[in-house]
């Protein structure tokens, strides 16, 4: 986190040097600061931070894409007279172990329309997810594991 703080300070310094602290200057300063950190690479913790930021951005973009896609799917199902839904509860075996990992994963699952995390088994081995379009449970399980869980674990480990 130190490297993130350094990145913020560099952004503020850049905006202050230009004499106007507004959103554009801060954003550009942040980008410059990030490139500087990536280039210098000797601030404590900066190496992990440099590789982590693109992953966080990737997770965010992937999530927004999923959000739009599945919102449209649910919306379509709401308005059509002959719904395509096949609701069901799927148990997803978890590779995520810590509280933070499981919380982030289940929150992301809940935030995407069409999937809703219900509960975690007491031994923390399964996450139960209610899905709205369960055409193929195996496919759904794989989608969550290789999409969200892989990305969350890459980001946090």
């Amino acid at each position: 986190m130190n490297a993130f703080l350094a990145n913020m300070l560099l952004a503020i310094a850049w905006a202050a040097l230009l004499g106007r602290i507004d959103l554009g200057n801060l954003a550009f300063g942040f980008l410059l600061g990030y490139l500087t950190l990536a280039w210098v690479g000797s601030v404590p913790g900066s190496r992990a931070y440099v590789s982590r930021l693109p992953r966080a951005a990737g997770l965010l973009l992937f999530f927004l894409w999923e959000l739009v896609l599945s919102t449209l799917r649910v919306a379509l199902d709401v308005v059509t007279p002959h719904p395509m839904r096949r609701p069901g509860v799927v148990a997803i075996p978890l590779d995520a172990r810590t509280d933070l990992e499981i919380t982030l994963l289940s929150s992301l699952i809940t935030l995407t329309p069409g999937s809703l995390s219900l509960d975690v088994s007491e031994d923390r081995r399964y996450l139960y997810v209610h899905a709205m379009f369960l055409d193929d449970p195996e496919e759904f399980r794989r989608g969550i594991k290789e999409g969200f869980e892989r990305r969350v674990l890459e980001l946090l480990r």
């Binding site: 799927v90 935030l111 069409g114 209610h130």
Partner: protein, 115 residues
């Protein structure tokens, strides 16, 4: 430029309102609690965020934009927690799934554990 921003803001607001309307219709049309949660909780969040972005685009003021970003962040943090807690309470108190349900591994696992 100003007219263009008007159109962008207007479309965002219209789209957002549409999502909120669909969420409301979804609550009426879905067969059980869980499918209703699918229809309402997320579509309503997305709708609110779209309306907020319309405000941000229209005003163009940095202070307003920062506030909109913060509100979106808080919505994203709180909405899944609320949805999850409702759904979890429902499963624990045994709210029935609709007849359309094709698979229920939670009950299957519970049965195995009880035996």
């Amino acid at each position: 430029m100003d007219t263009l921003l008007w159109y962008v803001a207007g479309s965002l607001a219209a789209l957002g309102t549409l999502f909120v309307l669909l969420a409301a219709v979804g609550i009426l049309r879905m067969p059980d609690l869980f499918t209703r949660m699918h229809a309402s909780s997320k579509a309503a969040t997305l709708g609110a965020i779209l309306v907020l972005s319309a405000v941000a685009v229209r005003s163009g003021d940095a202070a307003v934009i920062v506030r909109v970003v913060l509100i979106c962040l808080f919505l994203f943090l709180t909405a899944p927690v609320a949805a999850h807690v409702i759904a979890r309470a429902a499963t624990r108190t045994g709210v029935p799934l609709s007849d359309e349900t094709v698979l229920d591994e939670l009950s299957e696992h519970r049965k195995i554990r009880e035996e």
